[in-house]
């Protein structure tokens, strides 16, 4: 029976990101959320467990503020969580996140399958999964939209630019999943209550052996808003006419 690990990230909800008057990004009022595609990663872990048995462990690297994220993740079905936290773990780069995950997973967690999202909602680097696989020295199958286990082998259908490939690989293995792999469940009140009773293993920076050097130097962040001055029209016949007329006037369509 497979031990399944899913990696999730607690991220700034990009819908709250607004440029300040200086063009800088203002995160002060931002809300946080579970990274979108990590919901698919967690759901897939739980789905595999429902079919093949075994256990599901959710893991995150975050600052200590992310306790809400742990609860959110656990309400989606995993039976325990590793919360690797330190206030320095705020804006980690993929090489650091993956090295920290690799250390904790290698030392403390039994795993046959590790599931990551294809990319995180804030960074969307699409690196942490493949890097983690390399650090652990296990096969990596990225951009997967169908997953099963047959005779100790993972069978994964993955998207490629040319179409798709079905891959078999021995376990342990790491996969990154696309959003169409499943429909993540929406946790109910009962799931949320159950989540508060599940064990959370707290790991802090001093429990980790290595140093995690920053290699990617952040030279600044600027807003990239796409604001335009919208002329609004209603749904009446006159509005339709005026809308079409306005578009025609711009000369972008050949007819008319």
């Amino acid at each position: 029976m497979p031990n399944i690990v899913c990696c999730f990230k607690w991220v700034v909800d990009e819908a709250y990101i607004k440029p300040s008057s200086s063009g800088k990004i203002d995160l002060e009022w931002a809300e946080y959320k579970l990274s979108d595609y990590d919901r698919n990663a967690i759901e897939e872990a739980v789905r595999l467990q429902e079919i093949y048995g075994g256990g599901v462990t959710a893991v995150t690297v975050a600052s200590s503020d992310a306790t809400k994220g742990i609860k959110d993740a656990l309400s989606r079905g995993p039976e325990k969580a590793y919360f690797i936290n330190d206030d320095q773990f705020e804006n980690l780069e993929p090489s650091q996140t993956s090295a920290i995950l690799a250390q904790v997973i290698a030392d403390q967690i039994d795993y046959d399958v590790i599931i990551c999202g294809e990319g995180s909602s804030d960074m969307y680097s699409q690196q942490v999964g493949p890097r983690l696989a390399e650090k652990l020295g296990i096969p990596c199958i990225a951009f997967v939209n169908q997953l099963s286990i047959e005779d100790k082998q993972i069978i994964a259908e993955r998207k490629t630019d040319e179409g798709m490939e079905v891959i078999s690989a021995p376990m342990p293995v790491l996969v990154t999943v696309l959003p169409d792999i499943n429909n993540p469940r929406v946790p109910g009140l009962k799931d949320t209550l159950a989540a508060s009773k599940k064990p959370v293993i707290n790991i802090e920076l001093e429990d980790l052996a290595s140093e995690y050097k920053r290699l990617l130097i952040d030279k600044g962040l600027k807003a990239a808003s796409i604001e335009r001055n919208c002329t609004h029209f209603g749904a009446g016949p006159e509005d339709i006419k005026a809308f079409v007329e306005a578009i025609r006037k711009t000369g972008v369509i050949d007819r008319g």
Binding site: E14, A15, I17, I25, E93, P94, S95, S98, E118, G119, D122, Y124, S125, Q126, Q127, P130, R131, E134, P139, C140, A142, F143, D161, E162, G163, M164, E165, V166, I167, S168, D180, R214, L215, L216, I217, D218, K219, G220, L221, K222, A224, S225, I226, E227, R228, C230, T231, H232, A235, P237, I240, K241, F243, V244, I247, T250, V252, I253, D254, G256
Partner: protein, 314 residues
Amino acid sequence: MSGVWIYADKYEQVFELLTAGRGLADSLGTKLTALVSGDNDTAQDLIARGADEVLLFPPLAEDQPVQDYVPLMADEAREADPDIFLIAASLKGKEMGARIAARLDTALCSECITMNIDDKGKLQMERLMYGGSAIQTVSINSRPQMATIPPRAYEPAQVIDSRQGSVRTLKKPEPSGMKVIDRKGKAQSSGDISAARVIVCAGRGLEKQEDLDLVRELAGVLGAEVACTRPISEEKHWMTEESCIGLSAKEVKPALYLGIGVSGQIQHLVGIREAGIICAVNSDENAPIFESADYGITGDLYKIVPALIEEFKK
């Protein structure tokens, strides 16, 4: 040692990276090395298009995934120690880039949108953050400086006669235990949205697949290509991902974009930033797309689109 390295798993992108890499190699006064699978003719073609050196991968077994080249590429790069290593941001390239970077203990700028060499000879790169609502500038403090480069960011390199270069064939990669047990090509989509002058984009405001006909009819009247949002291609599979616009799909630059039942989340909008005129039909007057549109109609698409078809026909 020094040098600029490029790798792409598809030829179109090899040519684009030759352009990008040649520019960087010239400004650093160093040589350009292309890694590619193919034969000596391929290598000579790449030399004619700007490479100084070509490292040829021998062919893989039928059931070997291209990712089996990763250990080999990392070993070669460790040995040669290039300054810069660019990889095409295809799905395979993105995974391979991250894995090579992990093996080399270096950083990688994913889907780099601009590259410049600063006065210290270091790469300054920009990439999107927060779904596209911000642009981050980064540089890399380790070697090689790695980046993945989205398709079509550079013109393909042209053949220049009488260029010289060297070719070296690498050893066969070891099988990794991963096996390709099936491959399928994808259905060809009808039109090319990246070159379209007018685009009508279908969003999840459409209730069922048949309703795409309504959008297609409007597109027909406008001489437009039909595109879609990610839920339409990736969740509902009503259209192919070739037709999808946005952060994880294509960037388009039409003169006119018309979104039908598209909410306008940033990850979609980032793909139409360069559109001339942005128009939207949405039943929710607070839909974010209206903030980024030039002209918007608030209303039910099932009433509005037929009326638009009539009006545009006039």
